[in-house]
């Protein structure tokens, strides 16, 4: 059996089973809709769902972009000075371990602009893996290569550009892979806390809205879009990682 086909086959079988069982047991759509009904609902509501989807995407990738900028910048400072790292790492860890749902309401109070508040919420969850991975990567360069740069009297800038940054790239990409998924989770969680208010709203708000009206098929339709987005993000960064790491691979390392 083809390994690439296997997951699709499993998924197809499960969906078929779902469809058949729900029909046989005559479960009402507001309790559990069939996959075909979900697909139909998704199709019929596509224009309005797409707008919300776009909003969620913007928050997700916006937060990820800021997480990259912030994570890399802080990592560079940490890598330069162990003292600064010792001073500030605990704070970064505290931010990381605090559940977002617990601080999101506060952030939403303090920041008037909902979009900015959502961005900040998603950023808080997304930046840490990039930070910690990049710090690791900046320190991962071969010590003998460091010696070589010393022997040839490299300037600090040359060392940064030609040694530290290239060494850190694979680590950064690994962090990006984790943060990509986290920023979607962060965006959706924050939206859930923010509720349906606001002019522009994302997929989470549509799920909430549909749940108030017991439009279960619509909830599932929005959920399907979220799942697809998550998978897409994972797939995208996985591809990027493979592309890069293939070239970066150390001789003798797997």
């Amino acid at each position: 059996m083809n390994r690439r086909l296997l997951p699709w086959l499993t998924l197809g079988t499960l969906l078929a089973l779902w469809e058949v069982l729900v029909r046989l047991a005559q479960i009402p759509a507001y309790t559990l809709p069939t996959p075909s009904l979900i697909a139909l609902t998704l199709w019929q509501n596509l224009p309005s769902l797409a707008v919300s989807w776009w909003f969620t995407l913007k928050i997700t990738f916006g937060a990820l972009l800021l997480a990259c900028a912030g994570g890399v910048l802080i990592a560079a400072v940490f890598a330069l000075s162990r003292r600064v790292e010792a001073a500030f790492l605990p704070i970064a860890v505290m931010l990381q371990v605090t559940p977002l749902v617990a601080i999101a309401p506060l952030i939403l109070i303090y920041i008037e602009n909902t979009t900015a508040a959502l961005l900040l919420c998603a950023w808080v969850v997304a930046f840490f893996p990039i930070l910690s991975n990049t710090v690791l990567g900046l320190r991962a360069a071969d010590p003998n290569l460091h010696e070589l740069f010393r022997l040839y009297r490299a300037t600090p800038l040359q060392r940064l550009r030609l040694l530290l940054v290239p060494s850190a790239v694979p680590y950064f990409v690994a962090g990006l892979k984790i943060s990509g998924g986290l920023s979607l989770i962060g965006a959706v969680t924050a939206e859930m806390v923010a509720g349906v208010a606001g002019r522009e709203t994302g997929l989470a708000s549509r799920i909430l809205e549909a749940s108030f009206r017991t439009e279960t098929p619509k909830m599932f339709a929005a959920l399907t879009l979220l799942v697809l987005t998550g998978v897409l993000i994972f797939w995208l960064f996985d591809l990027l990682a493979r592309r890069l790491l293939g070239r970066w691979q150390l001789p003798g390392h797997k």
Binding site: D142, N144, L145, E147, L148, F149, R150, L151, Y152, R153, A154, Q158, L162, L163, P166, V169, R247, W248, Q249, L250, P251
Partner: protein, 257 residues
């Protein structure tokens, strides 16, 4: 390129590391401009430390280290080859070899003819665009040596460069190394664990005692270059191996006493 002499002088050098380890005590040695000298000794006796002192990567805690090549401000006149090829895995063979020149501000275009010729002479003409992961161990070491030679250094420091290679590759690259050395005005200080390699390659072998390292014996190998595979069968080579073996044993016994 460089005009500085490739001589190396260590006088009564001590090296105590911050950890308190006394690696060298009263180590003295001399390498003349253009000479090929091997450094032999038990593991941990301070051979790498000697090379790092000569390269200026470490400072002596006593005595004097003099290597004019290192003082030459204009050139990268001292080169180092590690036990591992130590190539940048993300860069092509060309870019790896270019590195020392690049750090000195030489552009790719300026460096191109020189690197092409050098890579051809080390047998990597077909692999300029390859990445280190695509090369065999022997080819990686060749690239590493090309990188060391690209600045036309006066002093080449080699720290057990072929220890990880198989016997056949190793004897092949030994022959090539002698050819590269002969084509240049270059002093080589070559650290090895293998007395056979030391006897085959060098004009002089220095034997070190166990830690704290000192130079305890010297064996001259008075045989002309180019040396071929047949040199291994010659009486001079075999006598040198016997002498080295005895000197190593003596150094070991002394360290136990």
């Amino acid at each position: 390129m460089g005009t500085a002499s490739g001589s190396i002088t260590l006088q009564e050098v001590d090296k105590r590391f911050g950890t308190g380890v006394l690696a060298l005590e009263g180590a003295s040695l001399e390498v003349a401009q253009g000479e090929f000298v091997a450094l032999l000794g038990p593991s941990g006796c301070g051979k790498s430390t000697v090379l790092r002192l000569v390269a200026g990567l470490e400072a002596a805690t006593g005595g004097t280290v003099d290597a004019p090549a290192l003082r030459d401000p204009a050139e990268a006149a001292t080169a180092f080859v590690f036990q591992e090829p130590t190539l940048m895995p993300w860069a092509s063979v060309f870019d790896n070899v270019w590195l020392p020149l690049r750090l000195a501000g030489v552009s790719r275009e300026q460096a191109l003819p020189r690197i092409r010729a050098l890579l051809a002479s080390v047998g990597l003409a077909q692999f300029t665009a390859a990445h280190p992961a695509q090369l065999s161990g022997g080819m990686r070491m060749r690239a590493s040596i090309a990188r060391a030679l690209v600045t036309e250094p006066r002093v080449l420091l080699m720290d057990e460069p072929f220890a990880a290679l198989d016997e056949i590759t190793r004897s092949r690259i030994n022959l090539d190394l002698l050819a590269w050395w002969q084509a240049r005005s270059l002093s080589v200080l070559f650290v090895t664990h293998s007395l056979y390699e030391a006897a085959f390659l060098s004009q002089r072998v220095l034997v070190m005692s166990a830690r704290p390292g000192r130079l305890v014996a010297e064996v001259r190998i008075d045989a002309p270059y180019p040396r071929t595979r047949e040199f291994r069968l010659s009486p001079v080579y075999q006598q040198a191996c016997r002498d080295l073996s005895r000197a190593l044993d003596a150094a070991h016994v002394e360290s136990l006493a």
